[in-house]
């Protein structure tokens, strides 16, 4: 196939096609990255609207706006869309844009598959969202879809949910195979694995996690499908199955999934902090080993999500200590970032603000995770708002802040224009305040015993819920400002230099801004390697 392309090697083929079909048929990694990023932003807004329905209902005790059945659909769909529709595609989009530019490759290794893996997603989420309009409503069993809620007691639309998950899984698997093959085969000559930027490293490890656990997710939803339609009894105790088995298989996927959503964020932050601290990243090697350790540990801690199902005490102790062990490599990373900033000549442009907020707020989320790992304490915290606060701290000011930091950091390279710094900083501060006002009070109401996933609550929780809802609306609406800033930057603005950021390291800063449609058609000569 490549021979055919080379025969037609004239100048007319160097730019993108015109019109809509450019985007439908494209195999260009930059186009596909852009598609992924816009898609994930659209899903972020859809899932965000659902979150605002939830927070509006919880503004006051009692039932005001929605019926409990619809509230359950909102919590379920919010979780599914944010995890599979917003965070994961955003990181795949960043990988598409950045991995080839960072390793000096002309494109992803499997460009046609790249196109398929993106274009599956709109169909998957179209199918998932269509369930909202079906008789019986959308899935209402929580994003973790525990059996038998999701089998015996599920609305009929559950079948659409199952096939949507299958499609998302196929998309992720194809995307991650592509990332692995690209990174292992297409690095510029002379670039060793330990020379790769950390974003590439974290994505390589993430891709392996995806390849390992997405098939297990596909397996568990297939078992659900068989239980619902073909009379098997994987999760039906009456037929010899076991509902607890569902939780084990789900979390065997689910815990690595948590790290799938955070490891690329580590890579982004490890790129941004050195630039704005004007120092080399502290402890590159230990960062790589820490990432690999976290990935390994993620496979052997899953049952800490289910301490209250009734496990033997030995099992609970094992999962408690194994979980706490993850704090060690994570701590290595946090200290490395702090050490990178230490005595650096720091400036605080928008990407750096998001990156620093990431380090601080992600650490808060990590520490509440340690609290949840303590078995006797978890019996108290389980399924309360404390858990909600914990995972939102690692996902919103964790993963999502890192995605925004990445957007601001690389936007000048993508568009050739600088974004509006004043508006960017305004967006940061609104988001920062909004996130903390939303989620910090949820620690308090969780410790006080408010359970998650209910549309109503006891009067004693009223004040902090009101605060939390106000914060959610601040955070939600400030994302429209983000949309405006990105569009403004795409349309025009101060021209960016090729290097964009003073002293930024990496091959992506050696090419023109905006990045030409085809880059590194001939492999770059690597800059002189600084001997460590």
């Amino acid at each position: 196939m490549s021979a055919v392309i080379e025969n037609h090697h004239d100048d007319h083929h160097h730019g993108p096609d015109k019109g809509l079909m450019r985007w439908v048929l494209t195999t260009n990694h930059k186009d596909i990255g852009t598609l992924y990023l816009w898609f994930s932003f659209a899903m972020f807004l859809v899932g965000g609207c659902m979150a605002l329905v939830i927070r509006a209902e919880l503004f006051q005790p009692g039932l005001q706006l929605v019926v409990p059945e619809f509230f359950n659909q909102m919590t379920t769909m919010h979780g599914l869309i944010m995890v599979f529709g917003a965070v994961m595609p955003a990181f795949v989009g960043l990988a598409n844009w950045l991995v080839p530019m960072m390793i000096g490759a002309p494109d992803m290794a499997l460009p046609r598959m790249n196109n398929y893996s993106f274009w599956i997603l709109p169909f998957a989420f179209g199918m998932l969202l269509s369930t909202l309009f079906m008789e019986g409503g959308a899935p209402n069993f929580g994003w973790t879809f525990y059996a038998p809620l999701s089998t015996e007691y599920a609305p009929p639309s559950v079948t659409f949910f199952i096939f949507a998950v299958h499609l998302m899984g196929i998309s992720s698997i194809m995307g991650s195979i592509n990332v692995v093959v690209t990174i292992l085969n297409l690095r510029a000559p002379g670039m060793r694995l330990m020379d790769m930027p950390l974003f590439v490293w974290t994505w390589l490890i993430t891709a392996y996690l995806l390849i390992a656990v997405m098939p297990v997710l596909a397996g568990v939803v297939t078992m659900m499908l068989m239980d619902i339609h073909f009379g098997t009894a994987f999760f039906n105790a009456g037929g010899g199955g076991d509902p607890v088995l569902f939780q084990h298989v789900f979390w065997f996927f689910g815990h690595p999934e948590v790290y799938i959503m955070i490891l690329p964020a580590f890579g982004v932050v490890s790129a941004i902090i050195p630039t704005f601290a004007r120092k080399k990243l502290f402890g590159y090697d230990s960062m790589v080993y820490a990432t690999a350790s976290i990935a390994f540990l993620s496979f052997i801690v899953w049952a800490h999500h289910m301490f209250t199902v009734g496990m033997p005490i030995a099992g609970e102790l094992y999962f408690m200590y194994a979980t706490m062990l993850i704090a060690v490599p994570t701590g290595v990373k946090v200290f490395n970032w702090v050490a990178t900033m230490w005595q650096g000549s720091m400036t605080f442009e928008t990407p750096m603000l998001f990156a620093i907020a990431f380090v601080i707020l992600f650490t808060i989320g990590g520490l509440s995770g340690l609290m949840l790992a303590i078995v006797p304490a978890d019996f108290q915290y389980h399924d309360t708002y404390f858990v909600v606060a914990h995972f939102h701290y690692v996902l919103v000011p964790g993963s999502i802040f890192s995605i925004m930091a990445a957007a601001y950091y690389w936007l000048p390279k993508w568009t050739g224009n600088m974004y509006d710094e004043t508006l960017g900083k305004t967006h940061f501060w609104l988001s920062f305040v909004g996130v903390n006002v939303t989620f910090f009070p949820q620690h308090f109401i969780g410790l006080a015993g408010m359970p998650r996933r209910y549309p109503d609550y006891a009067l004693q929780f009223a004040d902090w819920n009101m605060v939390s809802s106000v914060g959610a609306f601040i955070f939600g609406f400030s994302q429209l400002l983000f949309l405006f800033i990105v569009i403004k930057c795409v349309m025009g603005g101060k021209k960016a230099t090729d290097e964009v950021w003073d002293g930024a390291e990496g091959l992506e800063w050696t090419i023109a801004s905006p990045a030409p449609y085809h880059t590194f058609s001939t492999p770059p000569a690597l800059p002189e390697r600084a001997t460590a």
Binding site: S2, A109, L110, I173, I177, V180, V181, L184, N185, I211, A212, V213, M214, P215, V216, L217, A218, G219, V220, M223, F230, G231, T232, A233, F234, N236, A237, G238, G239, G240, D242, V244, L245, H248, V249, F252, G310, M311, P312, G315
Partner: protein, 187 residues
């Protein structure tokens, strides 16, 4: 370039192989989990019919309380209860008791009782030589039945256990049995 393509296709195929392998592994977790539970008694699962090897020695000095519980799963209309709620038993000695069930609904129904023992680590010491949970019950409308249970507590039961609870949950499997007619594994 051709050689590169070759390496890439090989690697892609290998990774697809991993994907297929992990999909199969997801299903392999089902039997693995059952084996794990039966070996460790985790989840309170008891094993199948007990086949006596060497006769167990009766521990004349020890008395253990056994409590019986009967629950209906959601939407199960049967009346289901133990005829005796607690028994004082001696480890090693065989005992028997009877559970009562009746079908007050208007049609013939199939039921399956699923046992669970608490505390979990005592499950492996609770031997059932005969149990209605080893088979399915079919009752016509209004039919009543007394269902036997014979059991022996293993003398190796840890000394810390003074009370054992055997709980049954009764599931309506009329639909499952009709649609699949599958062999349902019982434990």
């Amino acid at each position: 370039m051709a050689a590169d393509q070759n390496i890439q296709s090989k690697m892609t195929l290998k990774l697809l192989g991993v994907v297929v392998g992990m999909f199969v592994f997801g299903f392999a977790l089902v039997p693995l989990y059952d084996i794990y539970c039966q070996v460790t008694g985790a989840n309170g699962k008891t094993s199948g019919p007990y086949i006596a090897g060497a006769p167990l020695e009766v521990d004349k000095d020890r008395w253990v309380t056994v409590q019986f519980l009967a629950n209906n799963n959601a939407n199960m209309p049967w009346e289901f209860r133990p005829t005796v709620r607690t028994m004082k038993v001696q480890p090693g000695q065989a005992y028997s008791t009877v559970f009562f069930a009746s079908n007050p609904s208007r049609q013939t129904m199939m039921a399956q009782a699923i046992p669970s023992v608490a505390p979990f680590h005592a499950a492996e010491y609770f031997h059932k030589t005969e149990c209605f949970c080893f088979e399915q019950q079919e009752l016509a409308r209004g039919e009543r039945i007394e269902m036997p249970l014979k059991f022996i507590i293993d003398p190796h039961l840890p000394a810390s256990v003074e009370t054992l609870t055997l709980s049954y949950t009764l599931f309506d499997i009329t639909q499952v049995a009709a649609s699949a007619a599958t062999e349902i594994p019982v434990s």
